[in-house]
């Protein structure tokens, strides 16, 4: 070989070795110094939950009081902190734990943050039992009073105690075709239905109140709390789900656990001196070593070598958790295209589809993807007869994709498949380009090539999905920034591979020299 061929390989070799060294030493450093375990599993789960209060201050003194979660069944609050420039912040720990921000004068848009580290631990058997609220007198105008009375009396007849009364009452409201009086109440109260439930129980002299829980879902941002119904009976109390449509999808998912945010019917958020207040939550799941001193770990976050994603606010961290997974998906694409020789439509489209699969779960995602793409191809075949210019044509495809997704969501909801709603997680622009590319491919090379490339893309997406949803890989990529360097080194090595692709071993099989 001549020198021209030798020359570029040497710097590549140095780069690969340097990247591997940096990557591995970062991983080892994090493992030894911060005791972050390499294996996933020998850990405790910690949820970082961030509540952000946004409101518009009027220019006067402002007092913001927000309910705080407390130790409860399965969860221990490790550490709480607030970020609120210019505000005085107090955590009040009497019977209703609250966070109070105060300032003498504030004007314009304000954002206050509260952050809690919540440890998942089975030992904790919960704090003190919340006290029952005093019973109130409630009345309704006609014809609602009659409707309330008849619903209550039906529930009363078929129940034995407070809990079963609550259950019977809720059953009437969650039934698919409720009685006429219940239907009347549902239509009239709409969003206020949870409060109506409480009032009806109070009317039946059952102590009840609304409490709020946060569904813990890794990496979610801008979430809101879900109202639940707490009912007391003698010494104890129990929590019931309300028949509310928005919370249905979350509560049906068995994997989602609930953190009780406000436990006994105190107001969630109280803002004096401001208006248009809004409470939003982001959260993140983290695995920490069982042996590491967690409190110390958190306080040493500003040290330079611990230059990690974990020093960012939770909302950004949640975003990075997904972003840091993408190199793994891209690595899978490199392997499949360069080493195996699979053809995909659009180089990294499969990674984006795989990201959507993570949100939707695999089977739902595959079915949804096939439905949307085939319906899109059908519409696109009509568009191609109109001889449109490229940009307009793709815009038309994007609009059709959005309509298809809309139609599928409504259809699946009507027939009771809440899974179908997840179809909205698909990146629509990417889907539109996929449809456009596949349709051109169909016209130019025929259906066979579409099947090859479409199949290749889906296969790549599924493999990338498996890699990216693997708990160990998720643990490594998020906790060890060094992994990124190792992945980069691997990509460089793969990029300089000049040998045969696996599929070429098939393509040129007739030419093999078997000696």
């Amino acid at each position: 070989m001549n020198s021209r061929q030798q020359l570029p390989r040497f710097p590549l070799f140095i780069a690969v070795v340097a990247l591997l060294l940096v990557g591995i030493s970062l991983i080892v450093h994090r493992h030894w110094v911060y005791e972050v375990p390499l294996m996933h599993g020998e850990t405790q789960t910690i949820w970082s939950v961030e509540a952000s209060v946004e409101f518009h201050a009027n220019g006067d003194a402002v007092k913001v009081s927000m309910a705080r979660p407390q130790d409860q069944n399965g969860y221990t609050i490790l550490k709480e902190a607030g970020a609120s420039p210019g505000y005085g912040l107090n955590f009040i720990d009497d019977h209703h734990p609250r966070a109070e921000w105060t300032v003498r004068a504030a004007d314009g848009a304000q954002a206050l943050f509260y952050r809690a580290e919540v440890l998942v631990s089975q030992q904790n058997q919960g704090g003190s039992e919340p006290l029952a609220p005093p019973l109130r007198q409630v009345s309704w105008p006609e014809p609602y009073a009659t409707a309330v009375n008849s619903a209550l009396s039906r529930a009363y007849k078929t129940s034995a105690d407070n809990f079963s009364l609550a259950r019977e009452l809720l059953k009437q409201f969650s039934r698919a075709n409720p009685d006429q009086d219940v239907q009347l109440l549902k239509t009239h109260y709409g969003q206020q239905l949870p409060q109506l439930m409480v009032d009806m129980l109070q009317k039946a002299r059952v102590p009840a109140t609304l409490v709020y829980a946060l569904p813990l879902q890794d990496g979610r941002r801008r979430q809101s709390l879900i109202p639940l119904l707490r009912v007391w009976q003698q010494q104890g109390s129990d929590v019931f789900q309300l028949p509310s449509e928005q919370s249905l999808t979350v509560l049906n998912d068995a994997d989602v656990e609930l953190l009780m945010w406000e436990n006994q019917g105190a107001p969630l958020l109280d803002v004096t001196g401001g208006e248009n207040s809004r409470l939003r939550f982001s959260m993140l799941r983290r695995e920490e070593s069982t042996y590491a001193n967690i409190a110390e770990n958190i306080s040493s976050q500003h040290d330079f070598l611990n230059f990690s994603i974990h020093s960012l606010p939770i909302e950004e961290q949640a975003m990075f958790k997904t972003i840091l997974l993408m190199p793994v998906g891209a690595l899978i694409v490199c392997i499949l295209r360069i080493l195996v020789g699979i053809r995909t439509s659009g180089t990294f489209m499969p990674v984006l589809i795989a990201l959507a699969f993570i949100q939707t779960s695999l089977v739902t995602g595959l079915v949804g993807f096939l439905l949307v793409v085939s319906a899109g191809l059908f519409i696109r075949s009509y568009l191609s007869r109109l001889n449109l210019l490229l940009v307009a044509r793709i815009t038309a495809v994007i609009i059709s994709v959005i309509m298809i997704i809309g139609v599928f969501s409504v259809l699946s909801y009507k027939i009771g498949l809440t899974e179908g709603l997840k179809i909205t997680f698909f990146p629509m622009i990417i889907l539109s380009w996929t449809i456009e590319r596949m349709s051109i491919l169909w016209e130019e090379e025929g259906g066979r090539e579409v099947m090859i490339q479409g199949g290749g893309s889906l296969l790549t997406a599924v493999l990338a999905y498996w890699a990216m949803s693997d708990p160990w890989i998720r643990h490594l990529t998020f906790n060890f920034i060094g992994v990124q360097f190792v992945v980069l080194a691997l990509v460089l090595v793969i990029g300089s591979y000049t040998g045969y692709r696996v599929l070429e071993l098939h393509r040129f099989r007739m030419m093999a020299n078997k000696l």
């Binding site: 490229l390 000049t498 692709r501 070429e504 030419m511």
Partner: protein, 315 residues
Amino acid sequence: MLVFPWQLKRSGILGMNRRNTRYISRYNPRHLYPLVDNKLKTKLLAQQAGIASPGLIGVVRSQHDVTQLAQKLEGVEGFAIKPAKGSGGKGILVLTQQSDGFAKNSGQLLSLNELQRHTSNILAGLYSLGGTPDIAIIEELIEFDPQLARYSFEGVPDIRVIVCRGYPVMAMMRLSTRRSDGKANLHQGAVGVGLDIATGRPLKAVQQGMPVSHHPDTGCSIAELQLPDWSELLRQAARCYDVTGLGYLGTDMVLDKRTGPMLLELNARPGLAIQVANGCGLLPRLQRIDRLSEADVALPANERVARSQQWFGLT
């Protein structure tokens, strides 16, 4: 079924990865690609250098020109209209002028209106790479040898020569078939005939990877195929390197009855199927070219062709 990589290595098969890194990205500077991705540029470049190519009747650059198509075509008997940036034979119409319109090879008639719409589509980028706006080229028809016409179904039988650093390395003829729908792409079912670099005689023919001995539609025996002006064809192909500066080039040539070998188009990313048609790997030949000095590469085209014929000839 798979074979072991070393079995392919022993046959000297060039794989996609090696082709991309060792040949295309090493010998083909990116800034030269537009020369071959635009057929009009290629054509003008070739004409300046004295490489024959189908005569240019006219160019349609704007929607305004489309209305003047009839004047441009006045008195022209037969012509081909094609997109400058098209690939894989897309958007090419071969037409002969009749009293009542334009006739395709298959006998189908096109009105002037339909021809104008086709031309507008070319301008809008319907057939170009990436859908970018394009121009339409109108060329004189090739009159290929009736001897060769027997070996083709509807299309033009063209000859692909791989030229590495100015040396012709491997050649094949592509015969369109009914299965390939008149197109000359091997993966669409055209027949690939490996040609001996020394003589231009057929070595082997394959269709979709399977050996064939006769053209599947016309029934002509491929062994009897004889190409005139072989050395001249190779010389023209080799000169394309001097003209473009691209060191790994696929040249598509045709044989015209009157003018001999002509350049149809150039390809900066030629495919690997030529190895199957030749029953022979590219790698040993390319490695021989790799070892050549700059002085060897600067030799005149006919000397390079003579050396190639001596090195790579099989008969």
